[in-house]
């Protein structure tokens, strides 16, 4: 089939509507914000290192046709529990980070398996279900961390525990592992610090995803993502494949959150994970991904564009209207708006396809 140039252009515009809007917004907002180029580049490099892993963890469920995995917050929670433990034991540096990962892996697998099993009961509404599941598990997480830790689960370090004697404080200081991965080996190019170790890890992960999508399991996932009934009839265990994709995503989100927090250095015990999910999903969509198709370049483009807007908009708002608050609300609006637009575009397309299918079915009768 051949398309005319005009069709191609319009297709491109529709496909990349969100990134194009973001590029245009950035072009307007960057000069307004009066940030120096050097500052912005440094900031973007730091944020790429910090956030990419979390965003990458979303790719595999999309491959399996399960949409955006809002359940990734479960993985983030598992990671945070691991971090609480190593902070309590005072294990520091890269060792601490690795130990946190090891501790939280079984928890992440368990949570991911649970999430996958629940989503199998809610086929066709995976996203809204995983979204609510995130909120629900947030309640359970609070129950465990705010009431269980220091009560049933012993915590020795008094700096971690609320003054009432149990429950973890709102802010957990991760000074022991702060920047441990970023500083493992980093170098300077033209005054910009590049955390090479983190990028190596992210690179390795990208290779993993590319490799994974070529394995038998990866191919199965694609098949399940295309059409579950067809995949099932060719002997692919659909439900199991779907659960595995969610488990992988949850475990990776858990590692992503640990990498994210080692860069930040402090943890908002009760809402770091909520934000992780929200930022990661918005970033991926800003990068031009859709609910059914996402690639590795989408991830990096998305992180850069989304965070550029994030850094720039409060200052732009301040200089433009004299109100930093306005820019702040603007970026909140953008974050949610982007997700809304992407979801609408996706459903719209799917709806149209279904209508077409129904019409052709009727025509055939």
């Amino acid at each position: 089939m051949k398309y005319s140039l005009r069709e191609q252009i319009s297709h491109f515009l529709v496909q990349y509507a969100v990134p194009i809007i973001f590029v245009l917004l950035s072009i307007v907002a960057i000069p307004l914000s009066r940030f120096s180029t050097e500052y912005l580049v440094q900031e973007m490099v730091a944020r790429l290192a910090r956030d990419s892993f979390l965003v990458l963890s979303l790719l595999i469920p999309i491959m399996a046709g399960m949409g955006l995995n809002f359940g990734m917050v479960l993985g983030a929670m598992a990671g945070e529990i691991g971090l609480i433990f190593i902070t309590d034991w005072n294990v520091m540096g890269v060792q601490g980070m690795l130990l946190a990962m090891i501790i939280s892996t079984p928890l992440a697998i368990l949570l991911g398996w649970m999430c996958g099993a629940i989503l199998n009961k809610a086929k066709g509404r995976e996203m809204v279900t995983s979204f609510i599941l995130g909120f629900f598990m947030n309640g359970v997480y609070q129950l465990v961390v705010l009431y269980g830790f220091g009560n049933i689960i012993p915590i020795k370090n008094p700096a971690l525990v609320l003054s009432r004697g149990f429950g973890i404080r709102n802010v957990t200081n991760l000074a022991g592992i702060r920047h441990c991965l970023d500083d493992l080996f980093s170098f300077n190019i033209m005054g910009i610090t590049i955390p090479a170790a983190t990028f190596l890890l992210i690179g390795a992960f990208c290779l993993f995803i590319t490799w994974f999508s070529r394995t038998k399991l990866g191919q199965d996932m694609r098949a399940v993502g295309q059409d579950q009934d067809v995949a099932g009839s060719t002997g692919i265990p659909v439900e199991r494949t779907r659960i595995i994709s969610i488990v992988i995503s949850t475990v990776l989100a858990c590692y992503g959150q640990i990498i994210f927090l080692q860069n930040i250095g402090t943890m908002n015990t009760y809402n770091s994970h909520e934000q992780a999910g929200m930022f990661a999903i918005a970033s991926l969509l800003v990068g031009g991904a859709s609910v059914s198709r996402a690639t590795i370049p989408n991830v990096f483009l998305g992180v850069i564009l989304f965070h550029l807007m994030f850094v720039v908009s409060p200052m732009a708002g301040k200089y433009l209207i004299g109100e930093a608050q306005l820019g702040e609300f603007f970026r909140v609006f953008i974050s949610y708006g982007v997700i809304a637009i992407a979801l609408v575009l996706y459903s719209w397309r799917r709806h149209k396809e279904r209508e077409r299918a129904r019409r052709s079915l009727r025509g055939a009768e």
């Binding site: 629940i118 009961k121 809610a122 086929k123 066709g124 509404r125 996203m127 809204v128 279900t129 979204f131 609510i132 599941l133 909120f135 629900f136 947030n138 309640g139 359970v140 609070q142 129950l143 705010l146 009431y147 009432r164 109100e323 608050q325 306005l326 609300f329 603007f330 909140v332 609006f333 974050s335 949610y336 708006g337 997700i339 809304a340 979801l343 609408v344 996706y346 459903s347 719209w348 799917r350 709806h351 279904r354």
Partner: protein
């Protein structure tokens, strides 16, 4: 035995557990020195405050648009009405009515646009509704800063522009509906008769509406869209009407809420308001595609009862405030249960 079994099956385990939990809380209350009369009064007041917003779920569920996570859109319309009414310095019942009269056309407009959007995304309504709600709240945050309201009781004192986060309606129309024929019994028991009458009126109107030609057509669209289409019902139009109705009820609901609560909460206030309403109607026995007015009443009482009782009772028992966690787990657990159950029924 068989009857009990069928009752359990009809009501569903989560609902029974929640009802028993609430009952347990009321039984324990006197032993931990929590006043039962004050608790019942609180529960009733909160029931009245939230009832209309829960009722707003009914039309959309019935028309097959799913749970209205986009309720904040209606709430925003209500807030615009409320704020304008305060700006005009209207007081008493007149103020509330003015707020509603201003809010309803806005809600119709919002609901119409929102309905058109939802008609294009059939099958993905709930997720989109959530994010439409979120982004409209965020957008209104910008607008609250910029809209040219002037009343000194509403704008930030030092800047003279931009609305405050919370605006007191004390002195304007606080409890204007609630206090109609209301009575106080003893020191602790207050009964907001007016609010109940108003809620009952709306429920009755909804009940009537569901029995009109449009109402039954709407239910058909929800329960069997193919049949509805075959019998010549305009599916998209019915859906749009249901969304408009839902949005309007959201707008009215928030005004009822505010006149009882005493404050208008702007900015991120309406952000999460859809969730308790959704949870309440589900606790009342509704599913993702079927809801009745009875579901609304039962659900709101149960849910608001738990929200009222857990802080006071559990606090007295374990000396810590666990109400937040209980609320999160109960409301989201209920939504989760409803979302996973519906498919099972379908596939049977």
């Amino acid at each position: 035995m068989g009857r009990i079994k069928s009752f359990i099956e009809a009501a569903g385990w989560p609902r029974i557990i929640i009802a028993l939990f609430l009952l347990g809380l009321f039984v324990i209350a006197p032993f931990v020195e929590v006043r039962v009369d004050a608790s019942i009064s609180d529960t009733l007041v909160r029931f009245g405050m939230n009832g209309v917003m829960v009722l707003a779920m009914v039309p959309m569920v019935q028309a097959g648009c799913g749970l209205n996570f986009g309720l904040p859109l209606g709430i925003i319309a209500g807030l615009l009405g409320a704020v304008t009414s305060v700006e005009l310095e209207l007081t008493g019942i007149l103020g509330v009515l003015a707020a509603m009269c201003i809010a309803i056309p806005i809600a119709v407009l919002f609901g119409w646009a929102y309905g058109l959007l939802l008609n294009r995304v059939k099958g993905g309504e709930m997720m989109i509704a959530t994010y439409v709600g979120f982004s409209s709240v965020a957008f209104m945050c910008i607008m609250w800063l910029l809209l040219p309201y002037k009343s000194p009781s509403m704008v930030w004192g030092y800047a003279g522009t931009g609305l405050r986060t919370t605006i007191s309606v004390d002195g304007y129309w606080i409890r204007a509906i609630s206090d109609f024929l209301s009575f106080q019994y003893g020191k602790y028991f207050y009964f907001p008769t007016g609010m109940f009458l108003f809620f009952a009126l709306l429920c009755f109107l909804m009940w009537l509406f569901m029995r009109t030609k449009i109402g039954t057509a709407m239910t058909t669209v929800g329960s069997n869209p193919d049949y509805a289409r075959a019998s010549g019902v305009n599916v998209d139009r019915m859906r749009t009407i249901s969304v408009i109705l839902s949005t309007v009820l959201g707008a009215v609901g928030i005004i009822v809420y505010e006149q009882s609560f005493g404050f208008i909460q702007l900015y991120m206030g309406p952000f999460t308001m859809a969730f308790p309403a959704v949870a309440a109607i589900l606790i009342g026995g509704a599913s993702v595609n079927k809801a009745t007015i009875l579901n609304v009443v039962i659900g709101t009482i149960l849910f608001q009862g738990i929200l009222t009782m857990t802080p006071s009772v559990i606090n007295s028992i374990v000396q810590t405030d666990m109400s937040e966690v209980v609320r999160i787990v109960v409301s989201n657990g209920m939504i989760l249960y409803a979302l996973t159950r519906v498919v099972k029924v379908k596939s049977r």
